[in-house]
């Protein structure tokens, strides 16, 4: 009898745990707060990279531009620009914006990706 109760007790814990996890992960998950730039949707990330390209047009600005790109990809800023180029192409960015992004990609790559 005692063993049966013990099994029932642990089964009840497992049941409660499973129910709470389903609720907390699937039914009512925690709302996104205090997120980081690298978790943004790809189109927002592409626009962020475009802003970097617009804001740092000079060669001398490149280290600052790379710092900003590291917010999206800590290890590989070139990858961040490449991804933005792909997204921009899919979204049909204007030629002027594509030109800015491509220019940034080239400059960051020539700089050695900030390494």
């Amino acid at each position: 009898m005692k063993k049966r109760r013990l099994i029932g007790f642990f089964l009840a814990i497992a049941l409660g745990l499973a129910a709470a996890l389903v609720y907390g992960w699937m039914i009512q998950p925690a709302q996104p707060v205090n997120t980081t730039l690298d978790s943004m949707r790809p189109d927002y990330q592409a626009d962020y990279v475009l802003m970097v390209a617009e804001s740092y047009p000079q060669q001398a600005d490149l280290p600052f531009a790379i710092e900003m790109l590291r917010q999206l990809n800590q290890n590989d800023p070139v990858q961040a620009v490449d991804q933005a180029l792909l997204t921009a192409q899919q979204l049909g960015y204007s030629d002027a914006d594509m030109h800015l992004l491509a220019g940034l990609e080239l400059r960051v790559r020539q700089y050695g990706g900030g390494e």
């Binding site: 109760r5 029932g8 007790f9 642990f10 089964l11 009840a12 814990i13 497992a14 049941l15 409660g16 745990l17 499973a18 129910a19 709470a20 996890l21 609720y23 907390g24 992960w25 998950p29 925690a30 709302q31 996104p32 707060v33 205090n34 997120t35 980081t36 730039l37 978790s39 943004m40 949707r41 790809p42 189109d43 927002y44 626009d47 962020y48 475009l50 802003m51 970097v52 617009e54 804001s55 740092y56 047009p57 000079q58 900003m68 917010q71 979204l91 049909g92 960015y93 204007s94 002027a96 914006d97």
Partner: protein, 286 residues
């Protein structure tokens, strides 16, 4: 004989399980989000994002695009948020161009017809002038205007591909240097202030936002502050808290002449006690 007691051990187990599950789901291993939107960014990341918007605005002068981007942050009081961040950037010695861009955007919230010349165009022109005199004619010609930037607040959808490029309208922040036209410290005011108040006006007497004012510091360095952070007073208004025992030098705009020997005005009241008042300087574009 059946047990009449309720199975409390089962209830206890379920409650313990639920508590543990909620702890795991919301604290220990919460759902990690991808594909988030800018309004969910942490405050520090929002500041990075906003400073980039300000800087991009300064270079591209595309207010429609800048306000579309700012709308994504869903700030309840955009003007105050922009002013606060511009002030923080200046106070922390951060990126002055971002601060200037944010100050200009704050001014544009109230003055929607404000148009600036894109910094990238100015840079390109100066580069061309340096490289070859022949290029001056070619690069000085304004680019054809494709349309006016949209002034309306956009929705948080994809927006950035169709915004027109900025037109090459003359800039209120560039051009002729500013000259001091008046300096006053009115003892009759008896305000006991120690502010250096600078008003920067264009040739028509309208306040100009986003003008950089460089002020010398007692330790030998210098600090920048900008007009346009208090549009509720005047777009050309800026102030700086002076130290009563320090003599300052300021320069308004990048080409302005330094104004030296600025001190907090000292006045003497009828009771023989001395007090200070604000020093008000007015600069006008010639």
């Amino acid at each position: 004989m059946r047990d009449k007691h309720p199975p409390l051990y089962l209830l206890t187990g379920i409650i313990l399980g639920i508590l543990a599950g909620l702890l795991i789901a919301y604290v220990i291993l919460p759902v990690s989000y991808a594909y988030t939107t800018p309004d969910t960014l942490s405050s520090s990341q929002k500041q990075v994002y906003a400073s980039l918007i300000g800087r991009a605005y300064l270079y591209e002068a595309d207010s429609g695009r800048a306000f579309s981007r700012l709308a994504l942050l869903q700030e309840s009081d955009l003007n105050s948020a922009l002013v606060a961040q511009a002030q923080q950037l200046v106070a922390a010695g951060g990126d002055t161009e971002s601060a200037r861009g944010l100050a200009l955007l704050a001014a544009e919230v109230n003055q929607t017809n404000l148009v600036i010349t894109p910094l990238v165009q100015i840079t390109e022109q100066s580069t061309s002038i340096t490289e070859t005199p022949d290029a001056v004619t070619a690069t000085s010609t304004p680019n054809p205007t494709e349309g006016s930037p949209t002034a309306t607040q956009p929705t948080a959808t994809l927006f950035f591909t169709l915004t027109p490029r900025p037109s090459a309208t003359s800039s209120p922040t560039q051009g002729a240097p500013y000259q001091m036209v008046s300096q006053s410290g009115d003892c009759a005011k008896n305000d006991k202030g120690a502010l250096l108040i600078v008003n920067v006006l264009d040739s028509d007497g309208n306040g100009i936002p986003g003008v950089k004012i460089e002020i010398s510091l007692p330790n030998g360095g210098s600090e920048d502050f900008y007009t346009g952070l208090y549009p509720e007073i005047n777009n050309g208004y800026a102030d700086y808290t002076m130290d009563a025992n320090t003599t300052y030098t300021i320069r308004v705009g990048s080409d302005g002449q330094p104004v030296t020997g600025l001190q907090v005005p000292q006045c003497t009241g009828s009771d023989g006690k001395s007090y200070t008042v604000d020093l008000v300087l007015t600069f006008k574009q010639q």
